[in-house]
């Protein structure tokens, strides 16, 4: 017989008393969210897996500093983003990443519409171009774009997660989209009269 799911607060308190199994439940609860947050920031499966797991390990070591009365994931996210920013700042890992570069994006329309092989090749190239363009964004702008586009967070939720004003969220999003649009318009992927990045 299963009881009600323990709250994050209860699990944090048990983890703070040294109960690793309780922390394990927190890991299981948030592992996918942590992984995809890291994937959005670094764009490589192996790195996202490694960095998200490292974030959990660091969170466990620093569990004494978790405030059980506040949501767990935003606290964990701060560790994830710090690790990911450091990772992307590291030139060596950036070089390795370029060598392994491939699209970390998938097609959500796949399977919903019948597509010719040519169309599928086109879509694959488009994904490749978009993911590479995102990889070239400034990390803080990329972060906001990914949270908005691929985690479907509202501006208010992004602002709360990053602890920044909503205006800053929108400014970073504008910067990211402007850079992305400029690159994709130049590549002929996005068609519009007059480029977004002109000027």
């Amino acid at each position: 017989m299963n009881g009600p799911e323990p709250t994050d607060r209860a699990l944090v308190l048990r983890a703070q008393n040294g109960e690793r199994a309780a922390f394990g439940e927190l890991v299981t609860r948030y592992m996918e969210r942590a992984y995809y947050a890291a994937l959005g920031l670094v764009g490589v499966h192996e790195d996202a897996l490694d960095l998200s797991q490292e974030a959990f390990a660091r969170a466990f070591r620093a569990r004494g500093r978790i405030d059980p009365d506040r949501p767990f994931f935003p606290w964990l996210y701060q560790i994830i983003r710090r690790l990911c920013f450091n990772h992307t700042r590291d030139r060596r890992s950036h070089r390795q990443k370029l060598e392994r570069a491939g699209s970390w994006l998938a097609d959500t329309t796949m399977g919903r519409e019948a597509a010719s092989p040519e169309r599928e090749t086109e879509r694959a190239e488009l994904r490749e171009q978009v993911s590479r363009a995102i990889d070239r964004l400034e990390p803080r702008e990329r972060e906001v774009l990914v949270l908005r586009e691929f985690q479907a967070l509202k501006y208010r939720e992004i602002a709360e997660l990053l602890d920044i004003p909503i205006g800053t969220v929108m400014s970073r999003l504008y910067g990211a989209r402007r850079a992305l649009a400029r690159e994709l318009v130049e590549a002929g992927v996005v068609h519009v009269e007059g480029a977004a990045g002109d000027g």
Binding site: R20, G24, V27, T28, M31, E32, Y35, Y36, L39, G40, H45, L49, Q53, E54, F56, A57, F60, R61, R82, F85, N86, R89, S103, W104, L105, A106, D107, T108, T109, L126, R127, V130, R140, R148, E149, F150, K154, Y155, L162, I164, G167, T168, M170, S171, L173, Y174, R177, R178, L180, A181, L184, V185, V189, V190, V192, E193, G194, A195, A196, D198
Partner: protein, 168 residues
């Protein structure tokens, strides 16, 4: 002469600040429009601004096209087995973290003790020429200074590294 110039300069810089604020506001409104987070009043405000600056319509249109493109994409799903061993991998990291600390601390203690024994024996060996004994002592002193210097540098860099905390 000076006062009117200062007044004009202040007026110009206030105009520039106001323009920058307007531009910033317009960017926010465009983002809100693209993401469907715009209110009725804001939509009217945006339309008015676009009337005054029609070239911005192209920019807004490009953002909308971009949004259509990204809406058809999502992060590639991780292989299913990723989650089967996820917690075990985190657990192994925790265990290894403890192991590394134990290994490092004990290696430093044992290494220091062993080195001290060697140095003490060499210094006590009167058969060795004094120059060798003094060289051993100088080598040890040099190593200690290097160690302290490296540790101090690491602490100094860590304290002043602008990226050590999350950059907002």
């Amino acid at each position: 002469m000076g006062r009117p110039d200062r007044g004009r300069t202040r007026a110009v810089s206030e105009d520039r600040r106001a323009t920058a604020r307007d531009e910033e506001r317009l960017r926010w409104l465009m983002m809100a429009a693209v993401d469907g987070e715009i209110s009725g009043d804001e939509r009217v405000e945006l339309e008015d601004a676009l009337e005054r600056a029609p070239e911005l319509r192209n920019e807004l249109e490009a953002f909308r096209r971009l949004k259509e493109v990204t809406d058809t994409m999502s992060p590639r799903r991780a292989p299913g087995e990723t989650w089967d061993t996820y917690w075990e991998d985190v657990y192994r990291r925790l265990e290894r973290g403890v192991a590394w600390i134990l290994v490092s601390v004990s290696a430093i203690v044992l290494g220091t003790w062993g080195l001290w024994q060697v140095v003490r024996d060499l210094m006590a060996d009167t058969a060795l020429p004094p120059v060798i004994r003094w060289s051993v002592l100088a080598l040890m002193a040099g190593l200690v200074i290097l160690f302290v210097s490296v540790v101090r540098e690491r602490l100094f860099v860590q304290k002043r590294d602008p990226y050590k905390d999350v950059v907002r």
